[in-house]
């Protein structure tokens, strides 16, 4: 089957009947019979829920998508729904970026608007932010999104510990290579809830900021 595009850890293959099949990109070359067959786009929700070890995946863009399945889809609507369930709102975010209308929110603003038990996150120091973002968001083991937000309004880089490619939507966060034109990069326009929760743990001294 011919590759059509990549999105995160997923590869879309063109099937002979004009439809498309999604797989984990590591499974692209495996014989179909070795993979658990699925044909309902709604199955993507369950496939995205747990990693290979059976742990809950609260962050859908973490590089821990489970292996060993294939999802056959026969139309644009099914493909759209499946990708929405695998990588929620990421196709839409990419579309808004391409239209030149993506707003990003600096980390300091995201932390400053928290209420209740997350209000303390505003106390994160710049050094802690640098170490934490470098650990938590890194593509290798953390998250596959390209970061578009800055640390503050002055435009400070979110973490000096991340390579320049982490901020480049043209870069494949899995391999470090350049994405092809039809590939869809996963972008991060604002710090996610999981990073905010981790900030809280760091501010409260429950976890170190860096490694």
């Amino acid at each position: 089957m011919k590759e059509t595009f990549l999105i995160g850890q997923i590869i879309a293959l063109a099937s002979a009947d004009g439809g498309c099949e999604l797989r984990h990109r590591d499974d692209a070359g495996r014989p179909a019979r070795e993979l658990e067959p699925h044909a309902d786009p709604e199955d993507a929700a369950a496939l995205a829920l747990y990693d290979d070890a059976g742990n809950y995946r609260p962050l859908k863009t973490a590089p821990n998508l489970r292996h060993g399945w294939r999802l056959a889809l026969d139309g644009q609507e099914g493909l759209r729904l499946a990708l929405e369930l695998f990588y929620p709102a990421r196709l839409g975010a990419w579309r808004v970026y391409q239209r030149g209308r993506l707003d990003t929110t600096p980390l300091r603003e995201t932390l400053g608007r928290q209420t209740g038990m997350y209000r303390v996150t505003a106390k994160l120091t710049d050094e802690q932010a640098d170490a934490l973002v470098g650990r938590f968001c890194r593509s290798d083991g953390g998250c596959l999104r390209a970061i578009f937000w800055r640390r503050d309004r002055a435009g400070t880089v979110p973490s000096t510990r991340l390579p320049p490619e982490k901020f480049d939507p043209a870069c494949d966060q899995t391999t470090g290579k350049t994405l092809a034109e039809d590939d869809v990069p996963l972008i991060c326009q604002e710090a996610c809830n999981l990073l905010v929760a981790e900030v809280r743990a760091v501010v409260k001294g429950e976890r170190p900021a860096g490694e």
Binding site: A45, L81, A89, G92, G116, C192, A197
Partner: protein, 287 residues
């Protein structure tokens, strides 16, 4: 996916859930209801957003932005009651006009219609009653107390008022010896169930959206059927254990414990009705 065109081809439905960063059970009912509604072919699109899961409420500009046929989006909070979330958090995070039911989006020209939360729907009482009867089939209602559990306290939360109101309605509609609203964190406490009731049978129905932390882990401890919080519902489900041990014998009574009302499949109907009702108020009142 249905092949016929949807009944409302210009309308998308957006279900708003709380969600959790640690446990998949919190968001699961919203996702399941969304999938069930998609299969019915009523709306052009059906999606979910969450406070603590992906897609986030803050992701709203990225939803329904590829299809110019979508002219309106019905936003239905999958919440038990009006309160801090429905009045403050959701409108703020979704950029909705706080003083109007309809927000006109610049750019997409869509109208986003903010609908009442599911817990406000008049069918909620029947669902609670149905749940109570299913979990304790064949028990004589005259010898049974029905306890509805709400959260209580919390940030401007009206869930306690909502649970109290449901208990009043259930008293009128059933023959239970007693119907009480109880709470986790304020009196009458669910932990006192044995002294609050004097019937041989006691049925407990959590007035919660999901089998998250509260109904699956906290309330069983308060009831005395678990000694400490156990694995989450999804972990135990995968282990084959659900709400399968009814009734339990405790304090000389038979105790029946139901899963959270929000996991009920009919919740999908209520979500649809809250959306269509907000589009056509005349239809909603006659439903």
């Amino acid at each position: 996916m249905p092949d016929a065109p949807p009944a409302h081809p210009d309308t998308a439905l957006l279900i708003v859930g709380h969600g959790s960063t640690v446990n998949p059970d919190s968001g699961a009912p919203s996702l399941a209801h969304a999938a069930a509604i998609r299969k019915r072919g009523i709306f052009a699109r059906v999606g979910c957003v969450f406070w603590k899961e992906e897609p986030s409420l803050r992701d709203w500009p990225f939803l329904f932005n590829d299809d110019s046929d979508i002219r309106q989006v019905c936003v239905v909070p999958n919440f038990i009651s009006e309160g801090y979330f429905t009045r403050t958090v959701i409108p703020r995070e979704l950029g909705l006009d706080p003083s109007a039911a309809v927000t006109h989006r610049v750019g997409t020209e869509q109208r986003w219609v903010y609908c009442p939360p599911v817990g406000n729907h008049p069918a909620m009482t029947d669902l609670l009653l149905q749940r109570a009867r299913e979990v304790a089939p064949g028990v004589r209602e005259e010898e049974t107390s029905l306890l509805i559990v709400g959260h209580g306290t919390g940030l401007n939360d009206n869930s306690a008022v909502a649970a109290k109101r449901q208990a009043e309605l259930l008293r009128e509609r059933s023959r239970y010896a007693a119907v009480l609203s109880t709470y986790m964190e304020e009196p009458p406490l669910i932990a006192d169930w044995a002294t609050l009731t004097d019937t041989p049978n006691v049925v407990v129905v959590p007035f919660f959206i999901s089998d998250g932390l509260h109904s699956y882990q906290d309330i069983p401890v308060l009831l005395g059927i678990e000694t400490e919080p156990t694995a989450s519902a999804s972990e135990r489900l995968r282990g084959g254990e659900v709400f399968a041990q009814n009734p339990r014998r405790l304090h000389g009574r038979s105790l029946y414990y139901a899963s959270a009302i929000g996991t009920e499949a009919h919740f999908a109907d209520i979500i649809v009705e809250q959306a269509l009702g907000a589009l056509a108020p005349a239809v909603a009142t006659s439903a």
